[in-house]
Symmetry: C2
C-alpha cells in the first residue's frame, strides 16, 4: 500500500530519470571524485592552515579589545541549516560542538574530549557485551610484514591501494617494508597458527581496541579518515556452523547497540558478493539512514570461512586426530559510528545526542537578575546537580557568569544535551525546577513546576531521559520507513534513488548488473535485509525468480 503510493512519483518523472540515465559517468564521477565541494567540506581534505576558533572558547563580552573583530565575526557565524547544506551543517556541528578537529596530516582527525567521550560510552557498552559473549581483549602489533598482506588474494587486492608503509626504522632502510595495519586478519592468523593445536583450543575468541590506517582519498571527519579508532573481534572455530553462529551473534550485538544505545534503527542484513569484505565468505552489516537519506555502513561482521586459515596454515587437530583448517570470523565498529549519530539525530540547532551515549545527559542552568537572588539560585542549582550526579546521571552545572541564560540554552542545545533544567528565583521559592527536552523545541518541550525533592526529581529526570531515548528512535524509524521505497523494476529503482530514497526490491541479477546500477545511479546494494517479505518474487532487473529483496541506496 505504502509501496504503491511511493511508486507513483516515478511514473510522473520518467523524463528526469531518463536524463539521469543519460549521464552515467557524471553520476559515477560525483560519487568517486567529488569535483564540487562546499568550502567547509573541502577543508578536511587539505591541511588546515586557518585556525578555527570556536565562540565557546572565549567569551567576547570581556575579551581584550584587540581580539574583538575576530570574535565578532565568529559570533555572527552560525551553524549552516541542515536543510540548506547537509555537509556544511555536519562539518559546522563537528567544529562548534568541539567533537573533532583536523590533524596536520591530510585526512587525519583529532578527536576532542566531547567527541571522545561519546566513543568511551560506545566502548563501555560494547566491552561488556563482548565479555558477556565470551571474548577477551588483547593487543596485536600494528606493524605487519608486507608479505602477510599478500597471502590472501582478495585481501591484498582490496587493501593494497590504501596502505601506509613504513620503510625506514631507526635511521635505516628496512629489508621488508611494513604495513601500518588497515585491519588485522593477517597478523591475527599468524599468531593463531602458533596458539591453536587441538579442538580443545577452540573456539578462540578475542577482541582488540586499536587504531587503524587506510590511505583514503576522500575523507570526512568520523565517517572516513586516514586513521580511525575501532574494535576488531577475531575468532576461530572448529566448524563452519559455529563460525556462522558467531558472525550472526556479533551483528546482533551491533544491531541491539544501534537500536538501544544509539537510537539508530539500522537495517541488518547480508552484503552482496560485490560488497563483501576483502577476504570474507559472507559479510553481515548494519546500515543506517542518515538525515540526508544516504546510507552509512555502521558495523560489519564477517564469516571468513577458511580463507585466512588456508592462507596462513591455521590448523587444529579434530576429535578424530585429523588436521583441519579453522573457521573464522571478524567484526568491527569504529569511530565512524559517531558520524552516524550526528547525521541521524541532529537538526538545524545542532547536535542531538541519545541519552544513553551522551557525555552530558542533563545541563543545569541557573537564572537570576538581582544580586540578592544569586545565592539562592546557585545553591539550589548546585544541590540539584549533586542529587542527579549521586543518582548516576551525567549532569553539568553551567554557572559561568559571563554568559546569559539564553546563550547557554543555545549552546547546550547545539551540543546536543538531551535535557536542560532551568532554575530561577521563583522556582527556588516554589521548590521546583523547569525541565526542557532537546528533541522538542520551544514551549512544547518545556515542563514547569517539577519538584526539587530528590527522589521525585531523580525519578522524573530518569523517566524523561528514557522518553527522549525512545522518541529519538521512533523519529528515526518513521523517517527511515517513509524513505524506503518498494520497487519492482529498474526504472522504479532509478526513480527512488533520484529522489534520494532507498529502493527495496527483489534481486537475483549478476555482479555485472549490480555494478551497472552503481554506475548509472550511484546506488549500491546496501544489503539483503534479514527481514524479507513473504511470497514469490521476480528480480527487478531481469524478471527472473528472486529469493530475496535487496536494498539499494547511495551511501557514505
Amino acid at each position: 500500500m505504502g509501496a504503491l503510493t511511493l511508486r507513483l512519483p516515478s511514473l510522473t518523472s520518467l523524463s528526469s530519470a531518463a536524463a539521469a540515465a543519460a549521464l552515467p559517468r557524471y553520476h559515477f564521477c560525483r560519487q568517486l571524485c567529488a569535483p564540487l565541494r562546499s568550502v567547509s567540506a573541502a577543508k578536511f581534505s587539505v591541511q588546515s592552515s586557518t585556525v578555527e576558533k570556536e565562540i565557546a572558547a572565549t567569551p567576547p563580552e570581556i575579551e581584550p579589545a584587540s581580539l574583538l573583530p575576530r570574535l565578532q565575526l565568529e559570533k555572527d557565524r552560525v551553524i549552516t541549516p541542515r536543510s540548506q547544506d547537509f555537509n556544511a551543517w555536519y562539518l559546522d556541528i563537528i567544529a562548534k560542538a568541539e567533537l573533532a578537529d583536523y590533524g596536520p596530516v591530510r585526512g587525519t582527525m583529532v578527536i576532542r574530549p566531547y567527541g571522545y567521550a561519546i566513543w568511551e560510552a560506545i566502548q563501555d557498552y560494547l566491552n561488556v557485551k563482548f565479555k558477556e559473549t565470551g571474548h577477551s581483549n588483547m593487543y596485536f602489533p600494528q606493524f605487519i610484514p608486507y608479505s602477510f598482506i599478500e597471502k590472501e588474494a582478495s585481501h591484498v587486492e582490496g587493501f593494497s591501494p590504501e596502505l601506509a608503509l613504513v620503510t625506514v626504522g631507526g635511521g635505516k632502510e628496512l629489508e621488508e617494508k611494513l604495513v601500518v595495519r588497515p585491519t588485522s586478519e593477517t597478523i591475527v592468523n599468524h599468531m593463531f597458527t602458533q596458539w591453536i593445536n587441538s579442538y580443545r583450543d577452540l573456539p578462540l575468541m578475542i577482541n582488540q581496541w586499536a587504531n587503524v590506517t587506510r590511505w583514503e582519498m576522500r575523507t570526512k571527519p568520523f565517517v572516513r579518515t586516514l586513521e580511525f579508532l575501532w574494535q576488531e573481534g577475531h575468532t576461530a572455530h572448529a566448524s563452519l556452523e559455529e563460525a556462522e553462529e558467531e558472525a550472526l551473534q556479533m551483528i546482533d550485538v551491533y544491531t541491539k547497540f544501534a537500536y538501544e544505545q544509539a537510537a539508530i534503527p539500522v537495517v541488518v542484513g547480508r552484503k552482496s558478493k560485490v560488497e563483501t569484505f576483502a577476504g570474507a565468505s559472507k559479510t553481515y552489516t548494519i546500515e543506517a539512514m542518515m538525515g540526508d537519506r544516504k546510507a552509512l555502513q555502521a558495523g560489519t561482521s564477517h564469516n571468513l570461512g577458511q580463507n585466512f586459515s588456508r592462507a596462513f596454515g591455521t590448523q587444529f587437530m579434530d576429535e578424530n586426530g585429523e588436521r583441519q583448517h579453522v573457521w573464522q570470523t571478524s567484526w568491527a565498529i569504529s569511530t565512524r559510528f559517531i558520524g552516524g549519530i550526528i547525521m541521524t539525530h541532529g537538526d538545524d540547532a545542532g547536535l542531538m545526542l541519545p541519552p544513553n551515549l551522551a557525555p552530558i545527559q542533563v545541563v543545569v542552568v541557573p537564572i537570576w537578575k538581582k544580586a540578592d537572588e544569586k545565592a539562592g539560585v546557585l545553591g539550589a542549582s548546585s544541590s540539584v546537580k549533586e542529587t542527579l550526579q549521586a543518582a548516576g546521571i551525567k549532569v553539568k552545572l553551567d554557572d559561568a557568569e559571563q554568559r546569559t541564560p539564553g546563550w547557554k540554552f543555545n549552546f547546550w542545545e547545539m551540543k546536543g544535551v538531551p535535557l536542560r533544567i532551568e532554575i530561577g528565583p521563583r522556582d527556588v521559592s516554589n521548590g521546583s525546577v523547569v525541565v526542557c527536552r532537546r528533541d522538542i523545541p520551544g514551549k512544547q518541550g518545556k515542563v514547569f513546576g517539577i519538584s526539587m525533592e530528590s527522589s521525585s526529581l531523580v525519578a522524573y529526570v530518569k523517566g524523561k531521559l528514557d522518553e527522549v531515548q525512545s522518541s529519538l528512535l521512533e523519529n528515526a524509524k518513521s523517517f527511515r520507513d517513509s524513505n524506503i521505497v518498494d520497487v519492482r523494476s529498474y526504472s522504479e529503482l532509478k526513480e527512488a534513488i533520484a529522489q534520494g530514497k532507498w529502493a527495496r526490491g527483489p534481486w537475483s541479477a549478476s555482479d555485472t548488473e549490480e555494478l551497472k546500477v552503481k554506475e548509472e545511479t550511484g546506488a549500491t546494494i546496501r544489503c539483503f535485509p534479514f527481514e524479507q517479505p513473504e511470497g514469490a518474487k521476480k528480480c527487478l532487473m531481469t524478471g527472473n525468480p528472486a529469493d530475496e529483496v535487496a536494498i539499494f541506496a547511495k551511501s557514505y
Copy 2:
C-alpha cells in the same frame, strides 16, 4: 646507623672495586651492546620462527599420539629458577603464564588476554584518577609530519635515532615523510596553538591512551618494545608554578598507584639533567627496584617549561592583554609497568600478582576421588564461586576434569593468582573450605576450616586479599631497603654497584662526571629522591658541598 653498617663491605673489598674500575669499557659496553645474552633473551630480538606452545593449552594426557613427543618435551620444561637466571626466568614466565608473545616484526609484542587484563586493571584505576584531577581523554593522530619533530632542538636529538617513518601512502611516495608517533608533544602543541586564545582557556588538561613506536635495538617483552601502549597526559598552564604543581601532582598519582595498586615501593624523585626527557625542563620519575636489583623507570612526569610552546608558538592572552607562551607538562605510564610487576613480585614458582591488579584474584579448585563425591564437591565449589563473584571478587572455578588438583595448584601459582580455595568431600560435609596464599608457600600459607557461609567467607577472602596486597608491598620494601647503600665516596659507590645494589650519596658534580660514572660502573643517576636526609652533605665525587643525595643504579 644502617648506612654505617651497609658501608662496611665496601671497605673490605676495595681491591675488587679497583679491578672493576680498570675495565671501564667492558662495563659500558655490557650495558649498551649486550654482547652476551641467554638463549631465551636473544629470542625476542630475532624474528620468532619456532613456535612456543604452552603446556596449558593442550592437556598431554589425552593428546592424540602424534603430538605426544613435543608435548612431553614441554611438560619437562619448567620455569628457569629466578635465582639461576633472572632474564630466562622472566621470559619463561611471560611465555608460560601467557602474558605475551613475540610479534612477527623484530621487537614487537603481542599482549595476550591474561597480560592485557593486567593493563586493563591499570587503565581502570588511572582513568578514574586522571578524571578526578580534571583531565579529559581525547585522541591525536599517530602520524606526525617530520618537520614537527625538528622544531624542538633537544627533542629531535633525543628521538630521531628511534623513529619509524612512513614514506609511502596509497601507493605513492609522500612529499613529506611521516613519523609514527614516538610521543605526542609536537602534534599536541600544534593543536593547542589552535585551541588556546586567552587565559580563560587554561589550564587545558588532556590525556590519551595510545600506542607509540620507538625503534629500539635491544628489546625485551613489556620492558622495551618497538611498539608499546601507554597513556600520555598533556597540559598547558598560565604560569610556571601551575605547571610545576601539575607535574608534581601527576608523579604523586603514579606513586600512589605504584604503592597501593601494584605494591611496588617506588622511589620518587627528580631526574638529573643528563637523564631528563628530551625537551623537558624537569623530569620527575618513579624508580622501582626489580628482583635482580636493577632499577626500572616505571613512570615519568615532565615539566616542559615553555620549550614546546616557544617552538610551536603556543600562546595565550593574559589578564593584562599581553601574549605569553603557555607552560606545559606531560606524563606517562606504559605497558612497561607490567614488566615491573612481574620482576618485583615473581618467584621461582612463577608470577605473583598484587590482588588489586590481578585478573583472577581467587581460583577455586574442587578435589574429589570417588564418583559419588563429584556432584557434592562441584556443587559446593560452584556456589562458592557465585558467592565471591556476587561480592565483586574476580574468581575462577577450575573444574576441568583432565587435570589433577596438584597440576592445577602449580598452574595457578605460576599464573600468580593471589588466593586458592580448595574444596574436597570432607570440606563439603564440614561446610568449610581451605584457603591458600600464593605469597606464602606450602602449609604455612594454608588455612583449613574456613566457613562456606556467604557473608563470613566473603569477609574472610576480602581480608586475606588485603593481607596479601600489604604483604607484597612490605616484602618489596624490605628488599628495596636492604639493597640501597648510603655512600660517601666514589669508591663506595663503585663497590655498591659492583654488588648489584643501589648507591645513594650526595652529588653536586658535573654532567661529565655523571657520564664517567656511567661508563665506569654501568650505573646512572636514577633520581634525586624527594626524600632527602637532613644535614650538610659533601659530593661523593668532588667533596664540594652538595644540596642533595642522588641514587645511582644499573637499570633496564
